[in-house]
Symmetry: D2
Subunit: 267 residues, 4 copies
């Protein structure tokens, strides 16, 4: 399996800015290139930090102007998931904890009522995936950046990030470790960055996508964390930055057919 | 400086339980001892995981019965803070992100209005500390475990954890990295586990305690993280556990006088 | 049918206080008596205002001391519901609006998903009643005075007021007028003031009690309104008042058997 | 003083609809006319209900099509405020209660902290008006229909309705009766329906407008109530209705100069 991805972001920086970028694939890239251009001047490579799970975070300081970020990568074959920032056991404990957009301590009653009678972790993961899939409508622009999984549940609609947050929250509320993953998703339409879930079934981190909008088999990990606070592709920390345009592309040489019953592990 | 701490928890386990324990000092302990006794039978030492910053998490599986947990440690002198689970730079980035009980993305406007005119990171940290100290009333039992910093701000009262969450949230909302630390706090009255804040001023992680209830100089780090979700001394993951009694003790050979103007770094 | 009710409230007034009292039956009382005693001195009758639907609100100014409020009434037979403060049509419109504890505009999606397929207003009312009855656990002290129906739904537990708020909210979210009624409820155990719902089915205001804790047939209306903000038995507007004890009693000469299938209209 | 107002709403009705309309001036209109046209066919006058305070609510059933609503009125001189739906005393009690968008029970601590030291009801009303004026930014489209005063306070921005809700909430939290009023506001720019507050100072209902966007002296009351749930110009109860265009016009023969220090009572 060969996958090619590109992302092109155009930003209008109106005050000297500091921001974090997370768009590089987590591992296995060949021919990878990240290019930053400010008003047609190529910038030096920014410092890069290890975000765990193979993820990489670039920290950019940037003067005002029009900043163009281009990322290109090719990935051949599949690889095992890289290490978390802590031990695997600690990672499982951490991914049980409530987080900003996944307040699992507020959905204990809901999770117990809806899934309490189901035997087996795998069956519960599948049930949560289907429940969220059936409850929500996928509507672009329906949610706000500050919405958490409770807001999504009440609203009944959202985008991939909202689906993923609700799945994570309902799993953690049942003491099933779950984490969010930003991915490139060949076959997604309309193409964009995508957000999915990894759920620990006791043996592996099963890949769960309640949107069902792309085959899981060919997804490519970018960043991994507790929720979108950890996996955002762009986070502004100082100054004023506006995203004026974005194009994401992800293709695979042979797009797999999504088999909902298959256990998929993100490579 | 010599500090002695003990913690004694008595738990009533009514269904086979799995839970995480975080009560050991982060570093430098001599003569440390953790003893678990279930209905008068001493249990083997539980598996222990690295929680970062020197913190340690024990994971206990326990049958029904009366479980008594006793921890004793002595610490001589002061030591530098241990490493975060990631690089120092990544740690700073992580500690800017909104978290479950510190939804900094919801207090951007409040932080800007109250502290926007203050020049300098240290001055802002001090201003936030004093603002929270002045706004909140310390009232035992006034808050709920699911309260976040917005709830605390509206309620106007809370306990140490709530003070710390509000400080962390207002700092992150100004792009100042801030994290929560569970500590033993000699001089605290009534004695209990205590929660304080570390704020990154560009050079060091300044220790901030908006409650002002104990001298910062002699506090002893237990666990460190984004908020109370990371630093709780006891988190139940399966079964039914009730904390029936708890005694915490922390003494220092020479209790320092708290100097509010001093920059203290937690050792 | 003959019903006898008494309520005895003891209040500790520590600062000169102003508060509203709503404990008198809405209509049809014979031998009614309201006695206020401050430190053993009988107070003059307070001014009384028409709260609509026959309800009456007393407004008390009271000096510090121990205030004892005693209310006794006897009601013979059943009577038609008194008039709302507006026209019947306007009342129906008002009882469609979201209110403090019944934010029906936040449960539109939930109501549509759970009840959207049900034909007929009466069938919907019954379905909402049963759904709330099945979802919630009745647990004394589980909820806070500021909880609204969304909080109750997430928490999965509450008291009569919370049951009623959730029913009202889910009905209004389907454009079925619904209002809260404080009642005396013979047969309730433990005896207390009770809160139930009236739902407009197009012909009558059906009495709905999702708790199922007392027969609807013998309930006696006290106050009626949008939610507990309108029907509270005691609301302090100035000063400091603490309720130190309360006894409520309501008996009927022949306690009816509750028939869940019967359409009951509160008399 | 002579005022002329017109409102023209165009609605696209795609499913048979039932909705309430509140756009008529509360009193004193001469030459008033309300015209409803569905696909160029003039509809009969809809039933109209008394909303209290002189307000009138029309209830429309409407088949699919393009509905045009035109309202024209002329008002000469000023008149006393019409009656509330209950007694004046009961109205004051009702306007102390928390409501959907004015959860005063959640801002008790904030109100006490910010205004607790101010003596006198009039001084408090003025202080709340100025505080809200200074805290919020007026930004069209910044708020959502489900936002309450707490959301507005945290967000730090809003439109007239949000300003009014926050003022009402902070007043009720200090036991000052306050209600929302929808008005025509000559001089408002851009022209639209406007929302302001009436606050009971012990003698009169003072008109308060924290936006400061139009002179209070020439405003014309439409509907009055607890919050926007009572005063919305259009509320859909069944079917699907989309507002496709709206023009509001309000002029006065001699636009008064707004004097912030003047006590204005809405006529």
């Amino acid at each position: 399996m060969r996958r090619d991805v590109t992302a092109r972001l155009q930003l209008s920086v109106t005050e000297p800015a500091l921001f974090a970028l997370q768009i590089a694939v987590a591992q296995g890239a060949t021919a990878e290139r990240l290019t930053l251009t400010l008003d047609d001047t190529v910038l030096p490579a920014p410092p890069q930090f290890d975000a765990g799970y193979g993820g990489r975070t670039q920290l950019l300081e940037c003067d005002p102007g029009t900043l163009v970020i281009e990322y290109v990568a090719q990935v051949d074959g599949r690889r095992a998931t890289p290490e978390p920032p802590s031990s695997p056991e600690m990672d499982q404990l951490v991914m049980l904890r409530p987080s900003r957009y996944c307040p699992s301590d507020r959905l204990l009653s809901t999770a117990s009522r809806e899934f309490g009678g189901i035997e087996g972790t795998d069956a519960r993961i599948t049930a949560v995936r289907n429940w969220v899939h059936d409850r929500l409508l996928y509507i672009s622009g329906s949610s706000k950046p500050t919405d958490d999984a409770v807001d999504t549940l009440l609203l009944g609609e959202g985008v991939c990030r909202d689906y993923a947050h609700l799945v994570v929250t309902l799993l953690r509320a049942q003491d099933i470790p779950a984490r969010l993953v930003a991915v490139y998703a060949p076959g997604l339409f309309p193409m964009d960055f995508h957000a999915v879930v990894e759920a620990w079934n006791g043996s592996v981190w099963r890949l769960v996508d309640a949107t069902g909008l792309a085959p899981r088999e060919s997804m490519l990990r970018i960043c991994t964390g507790r929720d979108a606070a950890d996996t955002a592709f762009l986070t502004t920390h100082r100054g004023t930055v506006e995203l004026t345009s974005m194009q994401v592309m992800a293709i695979v040489d042979d797009l797999p057919r999504e088999d909902l019953d298959a256990e998929v592990v993100l490579a």
